[in-house]
Amino acid sequence: MLDQLREITKRLASDPSVVVSAIYRIDGTPIVTFIKDKKYISILEWFESQTKLLLNLMAENSLKSVDFKTRDYVMIIYPLSGSLVLVVISTSEASVYKLRIDVESLKRILNV
């Protein structure tokens, strides 16, 4: 299972616009994190500090996905299962609908 999760984060990161792809437990514990450069760690830390409530809402099944957009980055948070959440951070170069399709495809491969 862990290998499969690693594979998912790696596949997403093959898109040049994706700078971080990570999988969290719904309680906010990181399981797998793929970061292209250490300069992106601060964005991830910001995410971890801000999204407790969102993860709770996802756990209750009342949130399907969440997007954050800053001037330079797009962040997509997407539940993979009842207990896992995928976080993708990309630069503003990204084709946003391609990212969404990729995320949905990976969820279906995981079949959780």
């Binding site: 630069t91 170069e93 084709s95 391609k98 399709i101």
Partner: protein
């Protein structure tokens, strides 16, 4: 004289009132671009030749809108003809007719008239075993983008084609109206006596001078690139690397669609994909991409005639290096601009930033194509004098 008016009113009579208020002359032609759901768009008519076309978005100097009507009106010397039939018949008719100096083509790229037609096609398609027959069936519902432009290229006239293929479509759609009547599966040709200043561009790098060079350029520009061999004939694709398109996409773990019949019947067919086959032209070494979906199909349809392309192609994911800023570098000021609707999907609300670059009006619709001279070695020039692509194309018109 050309003038453009925009109203957010979605009731056709009220929209017409709004548009007429500002109009300072008696037009000979009015084209109404309608974004959003409108009841009875056929009522959008003035006392002149009137065309109503669905589009995905409208650009005004104040913003980008997903609802409303943009009216382009003119008193220029323009004739409008409607050519009905399959692509071969339409091309034949256009070759025999008098073509103006500048021609605007408006037609449904893909059109199935009604449920009965759909069922007949479905039955014929189920019986088909060879690629030639499959292509003939696709010709009954698709106007190939490059084929349609050939009469204009051959007579050295400029043509701008609006290949209408809404993002959400289905049976009986898109509804294009000419003087209050739906054109169904036909091509509207608006021929202007005088030339209009029209520039076609795409946001790809320039094409290479040979097959390998273009492959290399595309490989650097796009993502998840793989060289593939395609078995194809005209409008039909049988296999990519010896697999059906669906199986090929599955190998790449791409899941998008479920049931083609359901999507079409419910008018929920989403006509955009970020994964594509980039074909490379035998004639110019330019490239045209075809979006791929994972529908269960024996033969996969192409929106353009693939015979002018090599069997070797590349499969890739959509990407623009530099993102929306790269797009701004290509955009130029214009009275009226036409943008590929894929830009809306790719950059979402950031397309609003385009308005400052254009400083005029415009629309988002399905990838315009063009026949005429172009300044650069555009990637989308896939036949001499014919520019076609299903992504990242745009046109800039100036009326003065």
């Amino acid at each position: 004289m050309f003038e453009v008016y925009y109203t957010q009113e979605m009731e056709p009579r009220k929209a017409l009132e709004d548009i007429k208020k500002g109009m300072g002359f008696e037009p000979s032609l009015a084209i109404f671009f309608v974004a959003g759901k409108m009841e009875k768009p056929e009522l959008l008519r003035l006392n002149c030749n009137s065309i109503s076309v669905p589009v995905e978005g409208i650009i005004t100097p104040n913003g980008v809108w997903s609802r409303g009507v943009l009216a382009l009106v003119t008193d220029a010397d323009a004739s409008v003809r409607v050519f009905e039939g399959n692509a071969k018949d339409v091309v034949g008719m256009m070759e025999r007719s008098r073509i103006g100096s500048f021609n605007l083509l408006i037609y449904p790229l893909f059109f199935v008239k009604d449920l009965l037609t759909f069922l007949r096609l479905r039955i014929s398609f189920m019986r088909v075993n060879n690629i030639e027959e499959a292509s003939e069936i696709f010709e009954r519902v698709i106007y190939p983008m490059n084929t349609i432009l050939r009469p204009f290229r051959n007579s050295e006239k400029i043509a701008l084609a609006m290949n209408i293929f809404p993002l959400e479509t289905g049976i009986g759609l898109p509804k294009i109206f000419f003087n209050g009547k739906t054109i169904g599966r036909s091509v509207i040709c608006v021929s202007f006596k005088e030339k209009l200043e029209c520039e076609f561009r795409d946001s790809f790098p320039e094409r290479g001078k040979n097959f390998e060079e273009t492959v290399e350029i595309l490989s650097q520009e796009l993502v998840n690139v793989k060289k593939v061999k395609v078995i194809k004939k005209a409008l039909a694709i049988k296999e990519i690397d010896k697999k059906s398109v669906k199986d090929f996409l599955r190998e790449y773990k791409i899941f998008m669609k479920r049931n083609l019949d359901e999507d079409l019947l419910q008018q929920k067919f989403f006509a955009a994909s970020p994964y594509m086959i980039c074909f490379i032209s035998k004639e110019t070494y330019g490239s045209c991409s075809l979006g791929t979906f994972d529908y269960e199909l024996k033969f996969y349809p192409s929106l353009f005639d693939t015979d002018v392309f090599f069997d070797d192609a590349i499969f890739a994911g959509e990407f623009i290096h530099g993102g929306v800023r790269k797009l701004f570098e290509v955009v130029k000021k214009a009275d009226f601009a036409i943008f590929d609707q894929n830009f809306m999907l790719m950059f979402e609300e950031r397309v609003n930033e385009l308005i400052e670059e254009i400083n005029g009006y415009g629309i988002f619709t399905s990838y315009p194509s063009f026949s005429g001279e172009v300044e650069k070695r555009l990637m989308s020039e896939v036949e001499n004098g014919i520019c076609v692509n299903t992504t990242q194309t745009m046109v800039f018109l100036n009326f003065k």
